[in-house]
């Protein structure tokens, strides 16, 4: 058996108050795709940050090609041929594609001014992109590209740095499935050319499709490893949560209650020529499916007062709502769980307590002054009910995992007893357990009479959790599927319209 390209053995890492990694082993061979799987907080990211030189392990050993290596920073890791494609893309949107690929190691034409060798940058970038079968204008600003294209640029960058080990952290979290398929092709090509790939994902279906091997972490320890022939979603989930996973029970067709929320010919800034009309009935979850860029988020933002609404009306129980700002929307009980959690959902630098009470702080105040004990008690009730995992309610939200941050966002709105709640990619980047709980909560809200709208790129989620599904394409609703007709195939057909 050949020496694995990478051997991490007995890696331990402790942060104040938590053991993030406890003697974790991880191997990787050239030409294989190893999935790294686990709930949020299981230690996947920490392990990969050790490998990327961002964190230093307290103990344990990293060997590359059999030789022990010491890394003091990401630069060392890059020199050793380790390339990381982070979940939050770390490229510069205003810079063009070539500038991003060569960021930090721009070729120069020499001379005292060290002028950029722009011709070489563009030529080499074109070549690097060609290696993964991508054709792009290298002078396009990165920000003008789709999420998927940006990701491919990041991969091209890593490869042009001679990365032999490629780490991808949740690469498909923001990609529509057609782009994901494209990415998988690229990864398979890289595998056959000998690149070793670590694939971190919560999407077990992808892991099943793509990985040669899956390494499961649980609570900072190795929980098990599955080879390709033994790899199945059920087994993975079992290892991840340490117990058998219950498949969601099939709910009966929801009886159509009266219409609670009516969206009438709403046009958004992104698609000024298309308008959308939708109705949400009492007790149902209305799913909105579609590819990224189909106008779903813009619709959600227009409903909830944070985005542009060029025209159209939003009626709650037959009465039009005067929504001109998020503030108006919230006052009328219309709440948004936004897609970009860190930017729009939470104030990461503030505590759980301050985040939860932010939308309705006045209701915890007397004469403009916050009644702190009352506020803390209310927040504690909410965080307990939502099972937010944190040392205390004073913990900064930045320190929480994705799932717990999402719970804080939900806590913010649940305290207000919303009448309409729009979830935009509610379970993106959250762990399996939080996902199940968020779904249960969504259902609970619908049962209590809240109009629930759920936007999701996760077909499984759309099919399993919605009572009806509206599919969007280029700013229009291309079809509405009842529960009986809603299959992944049917949704996909309407989405690509």
């Amino acid at each position: 058996m050949p020496v694995p390209i990478l051997q991490m053995s007995a890696i331990s890492k402790r942060f104040p108050g938590v053991v993030a990694l406890d003697r974790v082993d991880f191997d990787l061979s050239a030409g294989e795709i190893a999935a790294l799987v686990g709930e949020n907080g299981a230690g996947k990211s920490t392990l990969m940050k050790v490998l990327a030189g961002i964190h230093r392990a307290d103990s344990g050993e990293v060997r590359i090609d059999g030789a022990t290596v010491e890394m003091h920073g990401p630069v060392d890791a890059a020199r050793l041929g380790i390339g990381v494609i982070h979940q939050e893309r770390e490229l510069i949107e205003t810079l063009d594609v070539a500038g991003n690929v060569f960021l930090g190691r721009e070729p120069t034409r020499g001379g005292p001014l060290r002028l950029l060798d722009r011709r070489r940058m563009h030529a080499d970038t074109t070549r690097a992109l060609a290696r993964i079968g991508v054709v792009l204008r290298t002078s396009t600003p990165l920000g003008d590209l789709s999420a998927a294209q940006q990701q491919l640029v990041a991969i091209a960058r890593a490869l042009s740095l001679n990365a032999r080990i490629l780490i991808l952290d949740e690469p498909t979290a923001t990609l529509p499935s057609s782009d994901a398929a494209r990415l998988f092709d690229v990864l398979r090509d890289l595998r056959s050319s000998g690149t070793a790939i670590v694939y971190i994902s919560h999407r077990l279906k992808e892991v099943e499709r793509l990985a040669d091997r899956a390494v499961v972490l649980r609570d900072g320890r190795n929980a098990g490893m599955l080879r390709r022939d033994a790899l199945s979603r059920d087994r993975l989930v079992q290892l991840m949560v340490g117990r058998a996973f219950e498949p969601p029970s099939i709910r009966p067709e929801a009886p159509a209650g009266p219409v609670v929320l009516q969206i009438e010919r709403v046009r958004t800034g992104r698609y000024p020529d298309a308008d959308v009309s939708l109705a949400v009935h009492r007790g149902e979850v209305l799913g909105i499916a579609g590819l990224i860029g189909s106008g779903r988020t813009e619709l959600a933002e227009a409903i909830c007062g944070v985005g542009v609404r060029l025209s159209g009306r939003i009626l709650l129980e037959g009465r039009p709502l005067p929504i001109g700002s998020a503030r108006d929307a919230i006052r009328h009980g219309v709440c948004l769980v936004p897609e970009d959690r860190r930017r729009c959902g939470v104030v990461a630098g503030m505590s759980i307590r301050e985040n939860v009470t932010l939308p309705a702080l006045a209701s915890y105040a007397r004469a403009g002054l916050v009644a702190r004990a009352y506020e803390a008690a209310a927040v504690r009730r909410i965080t307990t009910a939502l099972a937010v995992k944190a040392a205390s309610i004073e913990t900064p939200v930045a320190a929480l995992s994705g799932g717990n941050q999402q719970r804080v966002v939900l806590g913010k709105w649940l305290a207000l007893r919303p009448r309409v709640i729009v979830f935009d990619e509610p379970t993106q980047g959250v762990d399996v357990r939080a996902k199940v709980e968020i779904h249960r909560l969504m259902r609970g809200l619908a049962d209590q009479g809240t109009a629930v709208v759920m936007i999701s790129s996760d077909l499984e989620e759309i099919v399993a959790e919605s009572d009806r599904v509206a599919v969007m394409h280029d700013g229009r609703v291309t079809g509405i599927l009842s529960r009986a007709d809603c299959t992944p195939d049917a949704v996909m057909r309407l989405a690509v319209a």
Partner: protein
Amino acid sequence: MTRKDVTVLLLLAALCAVVATASPQFLSVTNLQNIARLVGMYGIFSIGVGIVIITGGIDLSVGSICALLGVLLSMMLVEWEWPAALALASVVALGAALGAAHGLLITRLRLQPFIVTLCGLLLYRGAARYIARDSTKGFGTGEGFEWLRAAASGSVGGVPMPFVIMCAIGAIAWLLVHRSVYGRHLFAVGHNEVAARYSGVRTGGVVAGAYVISGTLAAVSAIIIAFYTNSISPASHGNFYELYAIAAAVVGGCSLRGGEGTILGIVLGAALLQVLRNLVNLLDIPGSLDFAVMGAVILIGAIADHVFGRARRGPSG
């Protein structure tokens, strides 16, 4: 008290101890009263600027506002013989209005705070000089408004009035910033304006409010400082005050990125700056080095905070 407040307090205490050892004169009642008076005057507008900094903005206009309003106050009282109450109310209202103008330009037109208040700095200085025809204004012997002079040079039980006024304003500001709904929104906007807006916070109003507060407090300190100096030369009166205020806020733990800072810290920062100036005086350091000493000490403090702060924080999870 936050950890940063404690650090600033310790730094201030250490500095006082050093100066007191080097020059026993430091602890004389007169000297302490003088420092307290200056801390009061500078502290008031520093609080305003600090609140703006918490929103992630900046206010460069306070020095020029101080000059313009000082000139106007003198002219209202001495040349136009307005009743004192009317003059005071006008000056404070004008300060608030200038702050509101800054706030509206920043929140409605989305201009950058630096540019808006830099233009304010230039505009109001020019206006002050033009209105006063570049001549020095004052209140003469101050007949008819002795009580106003007392607000600047008087004292209560030995404590200089400006310091007392600053404490009162500081207490109100503390409640507003650290205990009120508005204060919470202030920090939320400073940390993450987008998320605050998504949470229904009226971010424009919160930010504009901070500039109104800053303008108002600049006006209040302008009144006190005008009576304290009793000689307002429009070209130099209030020069660099905006920098004193920013320095006080930053030394006191405000982050220029917004979202961080405390009223106590800002006041301690203002005090620290005055003790430093006093040090230059008492230790016979050439007065020309005044700013250099301040700059050096603040820089050393910032470096120390960064180095030790990083050691304490450790790696982030």
